[in-house]
Symmetry: C2
Amino acid sequence: MADISLTTGRLAALAGINIETVRFYERSGLISKPKRTASNYRQYPQSDVARLRFIKRAQELGFSLKEIAELLSLRAVPSRSRARVKRLSEKKLEIIDQKISDLRRMRKSLASISDACDGRGSVADCPIINALEESK
Amino acid sequence: MADISLTTGRLAALAGINIETVRFYERSGLISKPKRTASNYRQYPQSDVARLRFIKRAQELGFSLKEIAELLSLRAVPSRSRARVKRLSEKKLEIIDQKISDLRRMRKSLASISDACDGRGSVADCPIINALEESK
DNA sequence: GTTGACCCTAGACTATACTACAGGGTGTAG
DNA sequence: CTACACCCTGTAGTATAGTCTAGGGTCAAC
């Protein structure tokens, strides 16, 4: 079967986002302008579902649309710009590593709060703040 | 030496944020209303520096101010509300675990892009998107 | 051949999270 | 005793990321 294309509404539904958001992302350059039918309907490739899901999840991880656009640009590029891609991806790697370690610290104190609430344990004053204060 | 209190400007500087943001957080209930001097100047305890840093970093991890307020509420509470705290902290734990695993996936593909750009390797089409699309 | 579900554009509106400004008071160094 | 850096309140403005509405066209089913 031909890998049939999607209308805007169908794409939005599959990605779990608002149809207006799809058009907004197109205006913002996060997804490329799709082909149109004779009657001017957009025709999206299936692969845009994954792209939109990526955008959504990256946002939940604290990346702005601008940063996400950068992340998305980090793929098949002319080999002459490889050095640039390497620099950028390494910068993002550092940011990601920092986020992971912050989340782990936060996780640890949250788990101890949760444990303390299990029974008779007493929660020291505000461990959740202690979680991040001395990091970085 | 007495653990001297901080003016709004001093607190903002130590936390690395704008002075207006400190007042905004007070209005939003993220930090509690501090004592005032006779001349109506705010007097913040040193501990608010850590609190503000926590807020800032939690934001970078994708939490909204509302969620951060919830995280901050998770500490020593009357034992009658323990069950509530436990439920909330476990919900947050799940979110944090999901974030960590998403970041790990993202990290993995970013690392492979970075490696590929090291030399002659070719970057497969869009590993960065592949990183998150099938998760959750 | 019309009804209902969908699509289009352009522009207005919203929520969140700040950030700046006006107009006025405070505190201390010289 | 005044200059300058800082504080106060209240209100307005900005950036980001959507979300909605008006006014109109399309398409498949009945």
